[in-house]
C-alpha cells in the first residue's frame, strides 16, 4: 500500500515538473501549447535510447534529454512564435500530430508502437525515486518562483497582456516567447527522462496531443501564473484519474472517460473559477 502511495506521489511529481513548464507558457505568457507532451516525449526517447542503446548513465542521459528537448523547443519556438493566440495554438496541435507520427513510425529508432522496453531504472527503491522526483519538482517550483518575482517574469506577464504595447516599449515579443518556449521544453525533457527511467518502458501513446490536454487541465485547475498551482493541479488530475481506475472500469472505458472528465473539468473551471485553485489570472483575457 505504501508502495502504491509512493508510486502516486512519484507520478504526481513528474507531472508537476511537466506542468510547471507549461505554467510558464500558458500561465505567465498566455501561450496555449498542445505539444508539451511531444517535448516530454522527445526527452523520454532521447534518455531511453541513450541509456538502453548506448549504455549511457542516468545522469548523462537525463542531462542530454533536458538539453535535447530544450533545443527542440528553441527551434520550434523560433519558428512559430511570430504567430499569435489561436493560430499559435493550432500550429502546436499540428506539431503534436507530427511528433506523434515520428514516434510512431520511425521504426528503426523508436521501434514505433512496440515502444522501448527495458530502460534501465535509475534508482532501485521507490524511496530513492520519491526523493529524486520530489527534489526535481521542488527545483522546478523554485525556478518558477524565482522567475515570478524577476524582471523576466514581469516581461512574460506583460507579453501575455498586450504584445503590441510590449513591442512599442521596445520588447521583442518573439524573442521573449522563444526563450520561454525553450525553458518550458527543458523542463518537459527533464520530466520525460525521469518518466522513461522510472516506468522503464515508453511508447508513443504517452506523448499525444490528448496527453497535452491533461497537462493544460493541470495548469488551469491549479491556477495560472501561480508557482504552486501546477503541483496542486497535477495532484488533483492524477488522483481523479486514479479514482476512476478504482471504480473498476476496464481500461478501454476508463481512458476515454478520463478525457471527457478532464474536458468537463476545464469547462467547469472556466465557468465557475477561471483563476483555478491558486491562480492570478483567468483563462480568458
Amino acid at each position: 500500500m505504501t508502495d502504491y502511495l509512493m508510486h502516486l506521489a512519484i507520478v504526481i511529481g513528474i507531472y508537476a515538473t511537466l506542468a510547471q513548464g507549461l505554467n510558464l507558457l500558458l500561465g505567465y505568457t498566455g501561450i496555449i501549447s498542445v505539444m508539451q507532451a511531444s517535448l516530454y516525449g522527445v526527452g523520454a526517447y532521447i534518455s531511453a535510447l541513450m541509456a538502453s542503446q548506448a549504455g549511457v548513465s542516468f545522469p548523462l542521459a537525463f542531462a542530454s534529454a533536458s538539453i535535447g528537448a530544450a533545443l527542440t523547443g528553441f527551434i520550434v519556438g523560433a519558428a512559430i512564435t511570430r504567430l499569435q493566440g489561436d493560430y499559435l495554438a493550432l500550429v502546436t496541435f499540428g506539431l503534436a500530430v507530427i511528433f506523434y507520427d515520428v514516434f510512431n513510425n520511425w521504426l528503426t529508432v523508436t521501434k514505433g508502437p512496440m515502444g522501448i522496453p527495458g530502460i534501465p531504472a535509475a534508482f532501485e527503491t521507490k524511496e530513492a525515486w520519491l526523493v529524486f522526483v520530489a527534489a526535481l519538482a521542488v527545483a522546478a517550483l523554485l525556478l518558477v518562483r524565482r522567475i515570478d518575482g524577476s524582471p523576466y517574469g514581469r516581461l512574460l506577464r506583460a507579453v501575455r497582456d498586450d504584445e503590441i504595447l510590449a513591442s512599442v516599449l521596445g520588447r521583442s515579443t518573439q524573442r521573449t516567447k522563444t526563450t520561454v518556449f525553450t525553458l518550458s521544453a527543458f523542463l518537459a525533457g527533464a520530466a520525460g527522462s525521469v518518466y522513461a527511467h522510472y516506468i522503464t518502458f515508453i511508447d508513443p501513446t504517452s506523448f499525444t496531443a490528448m496527453e497535452s490536454v491533461s497537462l493544460l487541465t493541470m495548469v488551469i485547475i491549479g491556477g495560472m501564473a501561480s508557482p504552486v498551482g501546477p503541483i496542486l493541479g497535477a495532484g488533483f488530475v492524477v488522483l481523479v484519474a486514479e479514482s476512476l481506475r478504482f471504480a473498476g472500469l476496464p481500461d478501454a472505458t476508463a481512458a476515454p472517460l478520463r478525457q471527457v472528465l478532464f474536458g468537463l473539468l476545464i469547462i467547469v473551471a472556466m465557468l465557475f473559477r477561471p483563476q483555478g485553485l491558486m491562480g492570478r489570472y483567468r483563462l480568458s483575457k
Partner: protein, 257 residues
Amino acid sequence: MKLAIEQLTRRFDGIDALIDVSCTVKAGEILAIAGPNGSGKTTLLDIVTGLTEADRGDIFLGDKRLIGKRPEHIAALGVARSFQIARLFHGLTVLENLIMADATEREGLMSAVLRGEGVAEKRARERAMEHLEYLGMAAYRDTAAAKLSAGQMRRVELGRLLMQERAQLLLLDEPTASLDPEMTQIAVKVIEGLRSKGKAIVLVEHNLDVVHYIADRVMVLDQGRKMADGKPSEVFQDLEIQAIFLGGGGNSHASHR
C-alpha cells in the same frame, strides 16, 4: 533629434487615411496635429511607431530611417508613444507598468535565475514612485491596471512617458482625453516639461485650447490631407480651417470614442 515625415500615404480598403502628408518636428518642439474624426491622426502615429505599414512615403528620425522597421526597433531608436485609448498591461500593477517603460537589459532569463534584484531595478522603482507621487497615483502602486478608471489610466500613461528618459521623440495620442480640467493642467505641465528636456513631441489633440496654449506649431489634417501647418494663432485665423472644425464632422472640444 529631428523627425521628418515625407509624403506619407496610406489607404485602407477604399478610404484614404493619409495622402501625401509631410511634416517635421525638431528637438524641443511641440507639433500638434488637429483634425476631425477619421482625418488620419492616429494612423500617422501608428505608421511612425511601426504598427501600421505605409503605402508610400518615408520617415527619418535624425539620420535613421524608421519605415520598414519593427516596433521594438523603432522604440530602441528613441521613440515613445501613448495611445488614444489609454493602453496599459492590465494584469500588471501600476508600478510594474511604469517600470516596464524603463530600460530592458535586465530582463534576461539568465539574470532572472542567477541574480537577485539589481541596483537598476531598485533605481527604476524609486523613479517610478516619484512620478506616481507627482501624478497623484502613489496610493495605487500595487493596484492592477485593469481596476483603474479611464482618467487614472491616462495618468499612468503619463508616468510611463516620464519613465522613458531615453526617448527622443514622443508621440501622444490625445493625452488629455477623459482627464478633468485639473488633471489636464497637470498633463500640460508634464508635456511642457518634456519639451524643455529637448524632446521632439507630436501631440494629437482635440482640445484646441490645449493646442493654442502649448503647441509651437499645429498641422491640420482633414480626410487624410494636410490642410495647414504653422503657428496655432495664425492657422486658426484662417476661415477655411475654422470651417473644418465647425462643420467637418469633427467637434473640436469633445473627446471621442
